[in-house]
Symmetry: C2
Subunit: 651 residues, 2 copies
C-alpha cells in the first residue's frame, strides 16, 4: 500500500503543477482572436449548426446547447423537480419521479445517447441515466420533453449507462457499485464474493420507444464504470469497463487501485437475449417503478413492476469474456468501424486498444488466461490491437471523427490528444482549462461522426470566467477539428455538471420540432376545449376548477365559495394555438410551484387555502401587451361557511 500512496502523491502533485501551469498560460492558447471570434459567432437571426445535448450531472436534467456558439437553448427536466415549469410539482408530472423508494425529486444524470438506425443518429429520442437511484429516461426529440422513466432494481450508482445499440434495440445500463443481490442485511466487510453487479438490458419498442427491462445479467462484484455498444462488425456485443476488481469495500481510492489491470467485460447481448427469449434466466421478485408520460393526455402514470429476469453469465457459455485492461479503466469507447475498443486506464499513461477481430479469434481459439467467477479471461496480448503512447496523464474518454482519428481527454495533464486509429500515432495535442472529463463530437458515438467540432467538458473552472463566489459553473471548450490541428475557438460555461454529451446536426431535429400541442387532440380528462366549458365543481372538500387561458384572461377569473380546508385543483388549459405563446399560473401562498402551460396543453396544480380572504392568481408568463391585466381572485370563506360556489368572467 505504501508504494501506491506514493503513486497517488505523484498524481496529485502532477495535477497541481499542471493546473498552475495552465493558469499562467491563459492567453497562449493558440487561438487567433479575430478568426476564432468569427468561427464561434452566430449572428443575430442565424442558427447554430449543431445541437449539443449535455447531461446536467447533479442538476438531474439535460441541457440543450447550440454549437459553435455555446448558447443554452433549453434545460429539459428529467430526474429533478423543476420549479420553472412545474415539472415534478404538477399533478400530471409528479408520477414521473416515483420510484420503489417513493417520490425522489433529484438524480445525477450522466450520459445522454441519441437513438440510432443502422448505427447512424436518427433523432427520435435521447436517453439518459439517473445514477443515484438507478433509472433510465427517454426524452422525445420532437417535444424536447421527458416521456418515460424506468427504475432499475438490483443496481446501485447506475453509471455505465445509458448507451444504446445501433438499431436502438436496447438501452444498456451497468451498476457502478456492487451490492447484495437481492438486497439483504449483511456485514459490509463480507463484500468480496457476496456483492454483485448487474448489467441491465432495457428493450425499446421500435414505434413508440416504450421501455421494458428485458433482462439483467448478475456479474461479479466489481464496479462497472462505463460502457459502449459494438457497432458494424461488433454489433451484438456490448463492452463495459470495470474497476475495483479487488472487490474492496472501503478507502477505495487506495484499495480499489491495487491491481495492475482490471477488465473490460465483453457481453454478447444477442446471445443472451436469445437465451432469455427461449425461456432462459431466472425470475426474481423485486420492485421498480415504470413511469410513462402521455403526450395526448398530458399526464404521466406510474406503475410498480414486481419481477425481473436475471441471467447468471456462467449459464450462457460464450456470452461473456473479460479483457484485461490497465489500470482502473474509465472510458470504454468503440470506434465508428466497430473494430477497436479503447480502454482509458485512468491511472495509466498509455491507452489500450483492443481488437474486436482478435477478441473473436481468441474466443474461438479458447485461449483463456483463467477465469473470474466462472467468466473466461482472455489474454491481454491476444486481444491487444495497439497502444497509444500518449505522453499524457489520466486518460478518461475517447471520441472519433469521420477521418479515422480519435481524440482522448486527459484529466490530470488537462489536454485533448488527437491520434490515428490503426497507427496509434499522436497527431496533435491541445491544452484544456482545466481537468477535462468527457469530450463530444456530434455523432462521435455512432458509425457516422460529424468531425467539425469537439467539445471538451472540464471539471475545474477557477479563473476562466468572472468569479461568482465559491460556487461556479463548470466549463466547456470548443475546438475546430476540421483541419489537421485542433484550434480552440471558444470557452463557455455549462449549467449543472455536464458529464457526457450527445450532438447532432441541426437539420436532423429542427424541421420536426413540435411547435404547439393541438387543442383538438387534448385528451386530458379535465381539459376544457372551449371557454364555455369552464366550470368549478365541488366533490366533498375537493374542488376542481376547469379553467381556460387565452390572451389576456382566465375563464373564470372570479371564484367564490371556496372554504378553508378545501383541496382545490386548478386544471388549466391553454387555448392558444400559436407557437411560443405559453401562459403561466400561480396562486398566492401555494405550497407548490407555478404551472407553465404550452399552447394546447392542460396542467394541474393543487392549492389548499389556509386563510380566509380574497386571494389573487395571475399569469406568470409575459404573454401580451395586457399581460399585467391577466389575473383573477378566489374568495376563501371559513370552513363552516354557506357562501355558494360561483364562478364568473366579466360580471
Amino acid at each position: 500500500m505504501k508504494k501506491y500512496n506514493f503513486i497517488l502523491t505523484i498524481l496529485a502533485a502532477t495535477a497541481l503543477i499542471s493546473s498552475c501551469g495552465n493558469q499562467g498560460n491563459n492567453n497562449s492558447t493558440g487561438a487567433l482572436a479575430s478568426s476564432a471570434a468569427e468561427k464561434a459567432y452566430v449572428a443575430p437571426g442565424e442558427h447554430d449548426e449543431f445541437y449539443a445535448f449535455m447531461s446536467g450531472g447533479y442538476s438531474g436534467n439535460i441541457t440543450v446547447y447550440g454549437l459553435p456558439s455555446g448558447r443554452l437553448f433549453k434545460e429539459i427536466p428529467v430526474f429533478s423537480q423543476f420549479p420553472t415549469s412545474g415539472y415534478g410539482y404538477s399533478e400530471e408530472t409528479k408520477p414521473m419521479l416515483n420510484t420503489s423508494f417513493g417520490f425522489v425529486p433529484w438524480d445525477d444524470a450522466h450520459h445522454p445517447d441519441i437513438s440510432q438506425t443502422n448505427g447512424e443518429l436518427d433523432g427520435r429520442w435521447i436517453f439518459i441515466n439517473g445514477n443515484n437511484t438507478p433509472r433510465i429516461a427517454r426524452v422525445s426529440l420532437s417535444t424536447f420533453e421527458t416521456e418515460e422513466i424506468i427504475e432499475l432494481p438490483n443496481s446501485a450508482g447506475n453509471h455505465s449507462s445509458s448507451f444504446i445499440t445501433e438499431n436502438t434495440e436496447y438501452v444498456v445500463a451497468g451498476t457502478r457499485f456492487s451490492v447484495p443481490i437481492p438486497q439483504r442485511d449483511m456485514p459490509i466487510n463480507e463484500y468480496k464474493g457476496n456483492f454483485k453487479g448487474s448489467l441491465s438490458f432495457i428493450s425499446i419498442a421500435p414505434e413508440t420507444g416504450r421501455l421494458n427491462l428485458d433482462f439483467q445479467m448478475i456479474m461479479p462484484g466489481f464496479n462497472y464504470d462505463l460502457s459502449h455498444p459494438g457497432r458494424g462488425k461488433s454489433h451484438g456485443w456490448f463492452f463495459f469497463t470495470t474497476y475495483n476488481t479487488e472487490e474492496a469495500n472501503t478507502l477505495q481510492e487506495v484499495n480499489a487501485s491495487q491491481n495492475d489491470k482490471d477488465f473490460i467485460a465483453a457481453v454478447n447481448w444477442k446471445m443472451v437475449a436469445d437465451y432469455v427469449k427461449n425461456g432462459g434466466g431466472t425470475k426474481m421478485a423485486t420492485e421498480y417503478a415504470h413511469n410513462v408520460y402521455d403526450e395526448h393526455t398530458h399526464t404521466a402514470t406510474s406503475t410498480m413492476k414486481k419481477e425481473v429476469i436475471t441471467v447468471d453469465p456462467t449459464e450462457v457459455p460464450g456470452a461473456v469474456f473479460f479483457l484485461p485492461t490497465p489500470k482502473s479503466p474509465h472510458g470504454c469507447d468503440v470506434d465508428p468501424s466497430g473494430q477497436y475498443i479503447i480502454g482509458n486506464g485512468k491511472l495509466s499513461a498509455d491507452l489500450t486498444i483492443h481488437s474486436f477481430d482478435k477478441m473473436i479469434a481468441a474466443i474461438e481459439g479458447e485461449k483463456f488466461d483463467g477465469e473470474a467467477y466462472g467468466i473466461p479471461i482472455l489474454r491481454f496480448e491476444d486481444v491487444l490491437a495497439g497502444t497509444v503512447k500518449s505522453g499524457g496523464l489520466g486518460p478518461l474518454h475517447t471520441e472519433f471523427d469521420d477521418k479515422g482519428n480519435a481524440y482522448t481527454t486527459f484529466f490530470i495533464s488537462s489536454e485533448v490528444v488527437k491520434w490515428k486509429l490503426g497507427t496509434w500515432e499522436v497527431l496533435d495535442r491541445q491544452p484544456t482549462f482545466y481537468s477535462v472529463g468527457h469530450l463530444m463530437i456530434p455523432g462521435g458515438n455512432s458509425r457516422k461522426p460529424f468531425g467539425k467540432y469537439v467539445v471538451a467538458m472540464n471539471k475545474i473552472t477557477k479563473d476562466r470566467y468572472l468569479p461568482t463566489g465559491p460556487e461556479m459553473e463548470h466549463s466547456a471548450q470548443i475546438y475546430d477539428i476540421s483541419g489537421d490541428k485542433m484550434e480552440l475557438i471558444y470557452d463557455f460555461p455549462t449549467h449543472g455538471e455536464p458529464h457526457y454529451a450527445a450532438g447532432c446536426p441541426a437539420d436532423l431535429l429542427a424541421p420536426k420540432s413540435k411547435k404547439i400541442y393541438r387543442l383538438d387532440d387534448n385528451k386530458h380528462p379535465y381539459a376544457v376545449t372551449s371557454p364555455d366549458q369552464a366550470k368549478v365543481v365541488r366533490e366533498g372538500n375537493e374542488v376542481h376548477v376547469y379553467m381556460s387561458t387565452i390572451r389576456s384572461h382566465f375563464t373564470p377569473d372570479n371564484i367564490e365559495g371556496i372554504k378553508v380546508g378545501d383541496k382545490v385543483y386548478f386544471h388549466i388549459t391553454n387555448h392558444e394555438q400559436d407557437f411560443d405563446v405559453p401562459h403561466g399560473f400561480a396562486m398566492i401562498g401555494q405550497n407548490t410551484s407555478e404551472l407553465l402551460i404550452m399552447p394546447g396543453q392542460t396542467k394541474t396544480s393543487v392549492w389548499e387555502p389556509k386563510k380566509v380572504g380574497v386571494w389573487p392568481f395571475y399569469c406568470t408568463d409575459f404573454c401580451s401587451a395586457l399581460h399585467q391585466e391577466m389575473q383573477g381572485y378566489v374568495r376563501v370563506s371559513p370552513a363552516d361557511s354557506n357562501v355558494p360556489l360561483t364562478y364568473s368572467l366579466g360580471e
Copy 2:
C-alpha cells in the same frame, strides 16, 4: 366597451404584423457580422467587462451573465428549490422558503437592484422580489448566495419592487393586486373602495444588510405596477405607476383599461419615515416570515413576525400625491439627475415625462385637480416636463446612459428607441426580436450609468434559435451604444423568464468575490473540522452522521447499525480549502436532493431508509482523478435488529 375592444383588436393586429415583419427581416439587423463578432467575443482566458444579474422570472432565481458575451456564469437560487445544490432541500436552507403560508418552494422573481452609496452602485448586495407570495430577498455579492428573505404581509402580486433608495436606506415594494387589508371573507365584486394596495418600506441595516419591515402605506385599491426611487435632487421620494384606477375586479384586460389617465404616486418616504419614527402609524397584527442565512453557521433560521406598522397616507399631509399619467403606465423610471420621472403608458404611443421641480412647485402652490381617497391629484399640465413622440407602440421601460440619453422599449412595435433628455428628440431606433419587455444598461438605475451596452430582454423568441419543441428560452439582445447609433451585436437566450436586470462593471465585484469558506470559521453545530472528529451518534431513532470529505474519500465510509424507521441526518463538512473543489453527497433512494458542499462548508440532508440492505453513497461532483472511488456504504438492518452502531474508514 365596444370602442375599447376595437382598440385591443388593433393592438393585437399590430403586434402580429410587426412580428411577422420582423421574422422576415432576420438578417437585415444592420450588424456587420465580422465587426459584431469581435465586439461580442470574449476570447478563451479573457474576462467579460460587465456582470449582468437577470431576474429568473418564473424560475424564482437570479442568473448571472457576462457582458458582452451573454454567457451564463451562475444561477443563484433565491425563492425556488434548486435540486442542483440542495437549496430548499437541505436542512440548513429549508427555512429560507418558509412563509406564513408554510413552505413555499417557488416564486416569480422580477426586479433585481444592486445596493448603492450616494446613488452609485456599491456592489455589496443585490435585492430581488418574489411576486406571488410577496417576499423580498437579499443576496450577497461576495458569496453570490441568498442571505435573507422577508415576507410582506398585506401585499399581493409584489410586482413594483425591489428597488432601493440611493444610500440603500430602504428596499421598497408595492402591491400589484389590491386585496382586503386586513384579509377577510367578502364578495369580490365589492372590491371598489374596499380593497387596498400596500407600499412596503423595508429598512436595511448599513453594516449587515439586515432587513426590517419599517412601515407599510395603505393606499387606494389600484394596481401598483412598477416603481423607482428619486435620486440626487429627488432623493427622499419614491414613484409608483398605477393601473386599474378604475378599481375593476374582473376581465381586467378590458375593465382596467378604461381611463385615459392613471396615476404615478409620488411618495415622500423621508417624511413618512420621520412620522413613523415619531410614533406615527398604526400597529396591525399580522403574520410574516423573516428568514436569515448565517454564513458562519451555514444555516438559515426562520422567525415568524406578528406585527406591522401601517400608515394611512391621509394622516401625513404632504407625503403622497398623484401625478396623472396616460395610459395604464407600466415602467416608472427616474433619470440619473433625479429631475425626470418617465411614465411609459403601455396603451399610449407617447412617453410622458414629469418634472420633479415642477412637481415640487405644484405641491407648494397647492394647485390640485381634486383628490382620490383623500390623496391630492396634481394637474397633468403643471407637472409635465415633456412628451416623447416616439412613433412606437406599447412603451414599457426606460433606462439611461451617461451622456444624457434615454432608451425606451416598445413591446408592440418591438424596438428600442433612443431619445434625448430635455429636448425629447428621438435620436435612433433599432428593432428587437421580438416584443421587448425590460432593458438594462449597467448602472442605468443610478446616478452613474455605464453607457456602453444596452441589453433588451424579449418576451417572444420564436425563430431566433434552433427550436426546442413548444417550450423555449426567452431571448436577449445586446447593443453597443457607445456611438451615436445603437448597433445590435449579439442574440443570446436567457434562463427562466428574465424581467428586469441589474448590471455593473466586473471590477466592482470580481476582486472581492469569495473563493472558499474558512474551515476554522465554520460555526455549524454539526461540523467536523478534522476527520478524527467524524462520528455517528444515535439519539432514539434519529442518527446523526458527522462526516468529513476530502479528495478522495468520506470519513467514515462504512456505517453499520442503521435500522429501518431511523431518520438519518448526514452532516457533511467539506475539508477542502482550495478554490473550486466542491464535493457532493447523495444516498440512493433518498427522498430529497443531493448536497453540493463548498470548501469549508457544512450541509445536512435527511435519509429515512425504507429497505433492509447495504446501500451506497457517493460524491456527486467530479473532484479528482480518483473521484469514482469516492463512495461508501451504509448497512440497514430491520427495525428490531441488534446490529451495533459502528463506523469506519479503511478497516
